[in-house]
Assembly symmetry: C2
Homo-oligomer: 277 residues x 2
């Protein structure tokens, strides 16, 4: 029986759903805690998974792990280049700007004085976001000058953060839709999160933007937050797809789709290897 490593610290509901989905196609999905991994930079032999599905948040560390595994021949989902874009907010936004996919007005401020100037230029409210996804540095919602003063100071003390994305808030949080991408396909559009119950929405109005996004980010397993504004669709952010238990309860076969996509990547990877011989 072939095995796939689920890169995660613990088995959550989602990993159990994945184990079932992989078992249904004759594969065993085993938890592999990234905290236990030490990978030499040179080519020494070491026991690494042949196939791995990253179940953690996309961060710079996750990008490094994916790149090292891929360099050793592991088939990794998501691909390192995709994880890098999910982990690097600035690179993600620059990619979308180049592809002419609308994003909220955003400035990169390289210090406190510049941050205040950028906030004034965009007008309240704004988000302050670290340039890269950093579990230590949350996103801050800034609604007025007093909040700006307190937050900029707090962030400096918290993490010696200097550069920050200052991004205009283009819609109320409840207007945001989450696009769920698996493989090359938009598999769900979700409204609501956290305390609110999830609701599924029609995929049709989002297909064009989803297809443009997949063209830029690559096929994979991830979510994209976007809003419909009076002037059209705007893409806000993207991340690795971690939570999907609510979707499963609503009948969307996310785990099954992920398993099918991983198997497809294994087939593609194997035929690419054979092509090189």
């Amino acid at each position: 029986m072939r095995t796939v490593a689920l890169l995660a610290e613990r088995l959550r509901v989602e990993e159990r759903l994945l184990q079932q989905a992989f078992a249904a196609v004759g594969w065993e999905a085993q938890l592999r805690d990234p905290n236990e991994l030490a990978i030499p930079l040179t080519e020494e032999a070491i026991d690494l998974p042949a196939v791995a599905l990253d179940r953690e948040r996309a961060t710079s560390e996750a990008t490094a792990l994916a790149a090292l595994l891929a360099a050793r021949g592991t088939v990794v989902v998501n691909r390192p280049a995709t994880t890098r874009l999910l982990a690097d907010r600035l690179a993600f936004l620059r990619h979308l700007v180049l592809a002419q996919i609308p994003t909220p007005p955003t400035l990169v401020a390289f210090g406190e004085a510049a941050t205040f100037r950028a906030i004034e230029a965009l007008g309240y409210p704004v988000y302050l976001k670290p340039l890269v996804v950093d579990l230590r540095m949350p996103i801050a919602y800034v609604e007025d000058p007093d909040a700006a003063e307190a937050l900029v100071e707090h962030r400096r003390v918290l993490g010696d953060e200097r550069a920050v994305l200052v991004q205009k808030v283009v819609a109320e949080p409840e207007a945001v839709r989450r696009l769920v991408i698996v493989g090359n396909e938009l598999v769900a559009v979700v409204r609501g999160r956290g305390e609110e119950p999830l609701a599924l929405e029609d995929l049709a109005p989002w297909r064009a933007v989803a297809s443009a996004l997949i063209g830029r980010l690559g096929s994979g397993v991830y979510t994209v937050d976007a809003v419909m504004t009076p002037s059209g669709m705007v893409v806000i952010s993207a991340e690795n797809l971690q939570a999907f238990r609510d979707l499963a309860e609503l009948g969307v076969p996310v785990a099954e789709r992920i398993a099918a996509f991983v198997l497809e990547q294994v087939r593609v990877g194997r035929s690419e290897d054979e092509g090189q011989r």
Copy 2:
């Protein structure tokens, strides 16, 4: 008179030396504090320098700034790709390994348990280094299991750090030589630092490795730490060249070389632009 922006928070001795060197070739070098910069991601008009010399530590933030400036048409020294390699220790080492330039035995450990295992595998002493240059997270020298225990715990608390480079210490600190690169040339090899007086060494034994390094990192203004071991030369790390006042006192015309290199980049950049018309 043409101007070049010195990207730095304040004028140190080195920036004054640079101002003199640029003045001698008819250019004005002006301090430009990156903390004051806010750059929109879209193409709005904004006052940015035409030519910039990065005088700060190479970090992810410095890489982002260089990339944004270069995308707007600024001639930036170092190039963004070079700054990225100076800021990203893992990417730097992987580059060298691919180029078969010897580096110390190094493992990437993705958590505490893996870090202890990696240390045991390499043997004491080792360095613990963040994957990317982070002013919050210093390099730690680990000489025995007690120190390992204390340091790994301390680093976790300090920065929620999980992934770390575990690198074998291949030579005593006093055996390390600093190679100073400006443009495409090795301009000095330095022994001693900090409290010790600097001493210049013969360039000849280091030319081959310097040339290989410049081939991988690109031309630019940076330093590389390396040691001669019984089994040959080993490259340890690299960073942006910030401090060179001691070299100037020893008669090495570093500021003049840098000014000449920047002017050359401006000429190259201009002719490339013209070639595209």
